[in-house]
């Protein structure tokens, strides 16, 4: 966006007013209900709203809402590769790109892709790639082995919360205990394969293992919803012969 030279610039160093708000002690006690009423230590995933085919321009698109998180995704292609010097001409290639809009977070983000965005793009790439039959390329249509689903948990001491909200994910617990961290797992349900795994924080190996299992459970919970949405979109786009 071109810089508006007539605009009066603000001070060079500016800070978000959220820093100066008196933060109420939002960190909830380790036991007890979560802020939105869901249960702890249980696979209690937020309800999800999914629709496909919203972006008419794209080959495929989807919109998802979970809690206050809203996401749009578009798929373009297949198209010719630009980098002709790639030696790997035998199979197709997947490019992923993920961005936060500047108004999406608590503090205004920037237009340029930051490191967090790049990181998530990479993760997305790694998680999606196993599911695609890229070797079947260059035939039309993109075949996939399975849908890729993902779930994350947040470990806080001995209890965990599944599908954490923003507050739960970023709150620094006052209790300095052993197991603290987060885990995200991308899963292919019908093949029982984990295509993506990421954790941070400080956890023991057992906690990790248990967490992975919990995430897999969570994925199974969403699976039918996604399947239903996909079927619906397909049916609308190309109605079955019996109905026409």
């Amino acid at each position: 966006m071109p810089v508006d030279t007539k605009r009066v610039r603000g001070p060079e160093v500016s800070q978000s007013p959220s820093l100066f708000l008196c933060k109420p002690a939002k960190t909830l006690p380790p036991d007890g209900l979560r802020a939105d009423g869901r249960q702890r230590d249980q696979v209690d995933v937020r309800p999800v709203f999914v629709r496909c085919g919203l972006v008419s321009q794209a080959k495929g698109s989807a919109y998802i809402e979970a809690g206050n998180t809203k996401l749009i995704c578009c798929v373009y292609g297949p198209r010719e590769t630009e980098r002709k010097d790639e030696t790997d001409m035998k199979c197709g290639r997947l490019t992923t790109d993920m961005r936060f809009t500047p108004f999406s977070c608590q503090e205004r983000g920037s237009w340029i892709q930051g490191s967090h965005d790049k990181d998530l793009s990479l993760m997305l790439h790694e998680s999606l790639q196993p599911a695609l039959c890229l070797h079947k390329y260059p035939h039309a249509g993109i075949e996939m082995y399975d849908l890729v689903l993902s779930c994350s948990i947040r470990q806080d001491g001995t209890s965990y919360v599944v599908d954490p909200s923003y507050m739960e994910e970023n709150s620094h617990s006052l209790v300095d205990s052993e197991n603290q961290g987060g885990l995200t797992v991308a899963y292919l349900p019908s093949l029982n394969q984990i295509s993506g795994l990421q954790s941070d924080g400080d956890m023991t190996e057992d906690t990790l293992t248990a967490g992975v299992r919990t995430c897999i459970e969570g994925c199974f919970k969403i699976y039918p919803v996604i399947q239903h949405a996909l079927a619906r979109a397909v049916r609308r786009a190309a109605p079955p012969p019996s109905e026409s």
Binding site: Q193, S195, T209, I216
Partner: protein, 291 residues
């Protein structure tokens, strides 16, 4: 990562060998290659180290500077990672080619250190909200022969151990402004406690088994790897799956366990070695880059 072309036959050969716990260069599945560590190689930095793991060579330099703490955490200092994949390592890294890989490595490092326990960030604070120590960790890849994550993490741990932060104290002058005063003794410095600094272990899934410290050929045969960052107590600070393939949950559990075992075992000899080197003090023979 630099790629190597492996033919199908070679792949099969490697796979079969690993199945029998026998790798091409004769190691076991959970053995590391020959590792050499040297600290204090770059005199301009406040801490530095050079690690040679097989043919992978990594150089880490740490510079300390006084900066402003992050607004959300005014009483802590912080680390700033930067990984530079120089064209020295492979021609693919020429120009901006290595940037992607560098970003990936930096991000992983951030996540590995993003917990309360790795480094005591509160000790890096000089005056809350105003001054804190910022440690700029710069990693330079000199030669690339697989298993970058492990080499980098070991080098970082050694460099942090070697870092000498000058001792400062803040004095308030008459108007209330703060003056930073340095002690003029060059030996008067603060050392960091690197006990809890994690080490990264990369486990590559080759066939049905996993190997630690894969060479480039072995990497070419694997579909996916798991990167784990393990502390000396056995806690896992960061895990990540890399690679274009998918993994079985069971194998993930196996690999986690193996990684924890290997990682835990890595720390003790490393610390011992570092302390030994430190105790040599001035008499240490500097080997440098020409060895």
């Amino acid at each position: 990562m630099a790629t190597v072309q492996v033919s199908e036959a070679e792949k099969v050969y490697i796979l079969h060998g690993i199945r029998d716990d026998l790798r091409v260069d004769g190691r076991g599945c959970e053995d590391y290659r020959h590792m050499e560590i040297e600290t204090d190689v770059v005199s301009n930095t406040d801490g530095s180290s050079k690690v040679t793991l097989g043919h992978t060579v990594v150089l880490v330099g740490i510079k300390t500077e006084i900066g402003k703490p992050r607004p959300m955490v005014p009483d802590e200092g912080y680390l700033d990672f930067f990984v530079d994949c120089s064209a020295n390592a492979t021609p693919e890294f020429e120009g901006r080619g290595g940037e992607e890989l560098g970003t990936e490595l930096s991000n992983t490092l951030y996540r590995a250190f993003n917990n309360k326990h790795s480094l005591d960030l509160k000790s890096l604070c000089i005056s809350p909200g105003e001054h804190c120590w910022v440690l700029y960790v710069d990693v330079l890849l000199l030669q690339c022969d697989g298993n970058l994550y492990d080499a980098i993490s070991i080098a970082i741990k050694a460099a942090l151990f070697n870092t000498k932060i000058p001792r400062v104290h803040i004095s308030a002058d008459d108007e209330g402004g703060r003056e930073i005063e340095l002690s003029d003794d060059p030996y008067d410095c603060v050392r960091l406690n690197v006990e809890n600094v994690p080490c990264i272990v990369t486990l590559c899934k080759v066939g049905h088994r996993h190997v630690v410290d894969a060479t480039l050929q072995e990497k070419a045969c694997s579909v996916a790897s798991l990167i784990m960052s393990v502390t000396h107590r056995g806690t896992v600070t960061c895990t990540r799956k890399v690679g274009g393939g998918s993994l079985d949950p069971e194998s993930i559990f196996e690999m986690t366990e193996a990684g924890k075992r290997v990682g835990k075992a890595l720390h003790a000899p490393l610390m011992k070695l570092l302390q030994q080197e430190e105790s040599l003090g001035r008499k240490k023979q500097k080997v440098g880059f020409l060895s």
